[in-house]
Amino acid sequence: MARVFMKGCEAMAEAAVRAGCRFFAGYPITPQNEIPEYMSRRLPEVGGHFVQGESEVASVNMVYGAASAGTRAMTSSSSPGIALKSEGISYCAAARIPIVYINVARGGPGVGSIQPAQMDYMQATKASGNGGFEMRVFAPSTVQEAVDFTYRAFDLADADRNPVLILADGVIGTMIEPVELPAQRSEEEVAAIKAGKRSWACIGHSLDEPRAWIQPGNWSTAAMQQCNEDAAALYASWEPEWESKWLDDADVVITAYGISARIAESAAALLRKEGIKVGLVRPITVHPFPFAAYEAIDYGKVKAVLDVEMSIPAQFVKDVETAVKGRCPIETCLCSGGNIMSREAIVDSVRRIMEGK
């Protein structure tokens, strides 16, 4: 398939359209503006609808409405805007409404910085809204992965009837890379997907049929508990995804996700050329977290696991600590404030570990 040279944000938007997304609502915030801008041009071409919402709060609720009516729907934002969307995301999770949303993350907290960061890890993986719901959260480390995960996310959201989050960042969103785009679903396929949801879609049913009743909660405590038990069973069924490299002989294992992971891999490759045995564990889903990936590390040999992330204080490291279970020291290589992780910083960190400093 021919590769095209596309900006991350636009490539994710195109992937969504090709997956059958026919409704998008969003609100401007840097560095993800190319997603709503692209959707505003592209969706009308395929009979879809774009709305610039009056806020992130309104936008996510428009998506909640569209998805509750059976349409594949998406929203996107960047960190402060994602925080505002937490209300609607929680409603979608409670009512079991399939939506996809993208966080092109930037520095925080507060208005933070408009440059890339990985400071929404806890929010993305532990509590993206009130009430303890969970979501599949994918962390792409290339534009190609951003495309592939966005495309898959719609199928997974529908299969689970649950929101799916693409946890990208300002580098993935604004960089341009060659990508192979997935196949465009035909109008017949898109219509069939929507028709398949008719029984529960809030679009009107005759009084002879069961009504559609989209309930993001319940008056009955027994019924509410049952909903939560059903959701917990769904969450427990998810398989984590990860990539591991060079673990067999590793003296140091670098672990990182998203944009940091590709920089970590380039550092590991460089160090291995020098004969320094560095391994790599990269979670692809940061929720569910691939704890099993860390079982393949030879803790009898490894000097340390090096956590690399663009967040100060470190957040991803909390899950790494749970996975490593104290079997070796965990060191960190961090940056924040919109600064982007460098290969040199990771190489220096590994050297310090190897020298026992």
């Binding site: 026919r22 409704f23 609502a25 609808h49 709305v51 919402g53 009056e54 806020s55 709060v57 309104a58 936008s59 609720n61 428009m62 998506v63 909640y64 409405g65 569209a66 998805a67 509750s68 009516a69 059976g70 349409t71 729907a73 209300e87 609607g88 409603y91 009512a95 809030c202 679009i203 009107g204 049913h205 005759s206 009084l207 009504r211 559609a212 009743w213 989209i214 309930q215 993001p216 909660g217 008056w219």
Partner: protein
């Protein structure tokens, strides 16, 4: 024998409402059901419920509904209507929902001229949470968060949503009615019918503001609440058609 009245099929027969004695939610809900049947659109109607007492009828309504987060009904309705233009989409919201927490969503949907209908229940008080001050609480009226009564200098003045939305170009129909006597109930029904017909005709945003009572949180019996509506509420919120295009 001639059939003069029958119960609307849009309300499930085996369920009971959770509304207080003298509450007019049940009246308005019945009117909406009758209008949907008369227009023969029940099978293609989606109701977007706000948060608060307005959501209490979700258990016994017989047709499609979705509960929106507090204040976001117009945004949720936008998402449904844009992607399903053949569905009749209306929101059912109280004053806290439509005029306070949802003000941005309400004004913005009206300004976009979304082809939806809003049924806005204005009783000047928060019901479900226990009688707190609403944006439509009258001056001097006591509320659990305004125990000495609403004061203009501290709380501002009651908000007039029909008049506020009348400053916008897009809305098609803005009307204020009440349900405090049989004549006004009939006018309310006609207003709801016109709002829904407007949507079916693609005319855009219509809003029916219905001035009702809340005997429980107003601290009076049902009959007294009717007098209070007539003597106090309707002085502040005069009835009539504000916009009809």
């Amino acid at each position: 024998m001639e059939l003069l009245y029958k119960r609307t099929k849009t309300i499930q027969e085996d369920k009971v409402s959770g509304f207080c004695p003298g509450c007019m939610h049940s009246t308005v809900i019945k009117l909406i059901g009758e209008v949907l049947e008369e227009l023969d659109v029940v099978s293609r109607t989606a109701c977007v419920l706000g948060i608060g007492c307005c959501g209490l009828h979700m258990d016994y309504m017989a047709y499609d509904n979705i509960t929106a987060p507090h204040g976001r009904a117009c945004a949720v309705a936008t998402g449904i209507k844009r992607t399903n233009p053949d569905t009749l989409v209306y929101t059912y919201q109280g004053d806290g929902d439509f005029a306070s927490i949802g003000l941005a969503e309400s004004v913005s949907a009206a300004n976009r001229g979304e082809n939806i209908s809003v049924i806005f229940i204005n009783n000047g008080i928060y019901g479900m949470t226990g009688g707190q001050m609403a944006p439509t609480t009258l001056l001097g009226m006591k509320a659990s968060t305004a125990p000495f009564g609403r004061k203009a200098e501290e709380h501002g003045y009651p908000m007039h949503m029909c008049e506020i939305l009348d400053r916008l170009e897009a809305p098609a129909y803005l009307v204020r009615t009440s349900c405090n006597n049989p004549a006004n109930v009939m006018k309310t029904k006609n207003a709801i019918k016109k709002a829904f017909q407007n949507q079916l005709d693609g005319k855009g945003f219509s809003m029916v503001e219905i001035v009702t009572g809340c005997p429980t949180n107003w601290g009076m019996d049902a009959l007294a609440s009717l007098d209070y509506i007539e003597e106090k509420m309707l002085k502040e919120f005069p009835l009539g058609v504000i916009r009809d295009r």
